[in-house]
Amino acid sequence: MQRQIGETVSETIRNVNVAGRAFELRASQVERLMRRVLPEPLKDHFVVVGRRRYPPKQVLGEVTGLDRAEFTTHHARRILTGLGFVAGRRSAEPTGRGFAAPPPGRRDSAASRPSAETLEPFVGQWVATKGPEVLVAAPEPKTVVGWLSEHGLKADSMFRVPADELEASGLAPR
């Protein structure tokens, strides 16, 4: 169902049934709720909400309040893609808006850190990275370290994504 709100904004709304209970879900409601929630570590499938990648079951669990054991990843993924969110698998590039292939590196070394394009959604935030992936991003470095500890993960590197050229290269002139 596509409802018009005012004259210019449209929103996707879905009436869904999860674990025998009916829910009316709005894409904007999902985005708003997940803004405050850090993504958990990804296993295989993910959905992109607010330019961050989440496990589908985490998102559906948050918005419905249901125990995650009550639905499957595929069910969550189907509902969320129905709301217009992009879904993908870690082993393959997702299809849909908001993704661009990283630029080819000069040498293999470029793959050991996320590309500037991958980091672009996280400008001004602290990120922990592993290989070319961003594990977690948050406004405070303590939150990033706390998340890593909580999930038993070790990052390759942690830094704040620079907002401009000064922060990016600063005292390292070209």
Binding site: P103, G105, R106, R107, D108, S109, A110, S112, R113, S115, A116, L119, V123, A128, P141, K142, V144, V145, L148, S149, L153, K154, A155, D156, S157, M158, F159, R160, V161, P162, L166, E167, A168, S169, G170, L171, A172, R174
Partner: protein
């Protein structure tokens, strides 16, 4: 330990000699540092000291200018580790934790390189830090 050059965080263009340092055993989140043979000290953002719980009350405090920016540097002894696979080297130099520190990376200056023999191969884009023995 040989490290492939990497782009500085968030930057496109030529890769540089960047290594990730474990500060005070915080191995879940190593800190990206540029090997800077033109700098004398090791400089990191003050937030790093706060994360690892380093007490800066008794630090040697100095006003300095880095990259055109005036910053307050608090120098204390801190344990650093450089790791790669099963190889690692740990040492305890004076590290200056700076505020403000708007940059996305720390600086591994000469005092951070004292325990190593440093080789930089710019053409093939790698650096090698070999611990001195004895």
């Amino acid at each position: 330990m040989r490290h492939a050059f990497q782009p500085l965080p968030g930057q496109v263009g030529r890769a540089r000699p960047v290594v990730d340092l474990v500060v005070e055993g915080l191995d879940v989140a190593p800190q990206a540092c540029l090997i800077d043979t033109g700098a004398t000290e090791i400089r990191l953002g003050r937030h790093v000291a706060e994360i690892v719980g380093l007490d800066l009350d008794k630090a040697v405090v100095d006003e300095t200018v880095v990259g055109g920016l005036r910053t307050t540097a608090s120098g204390v002894t801190a344990e650093l580790s450089l790791r790669q696979g099963r190889s690692s080297h740990t040492w305890s130099p004076t590290v200056y934790f700076c505020d403000p520190w708007p940059w996305a990376f720390g600086l591994l200056g000469l005092s951070g390189l004292d325990p190593f023999l440093l080789t930089i191969n710019a053409y093939d884009e790698w650096s090698e830090l070999r611990p001195r023995h004895g």
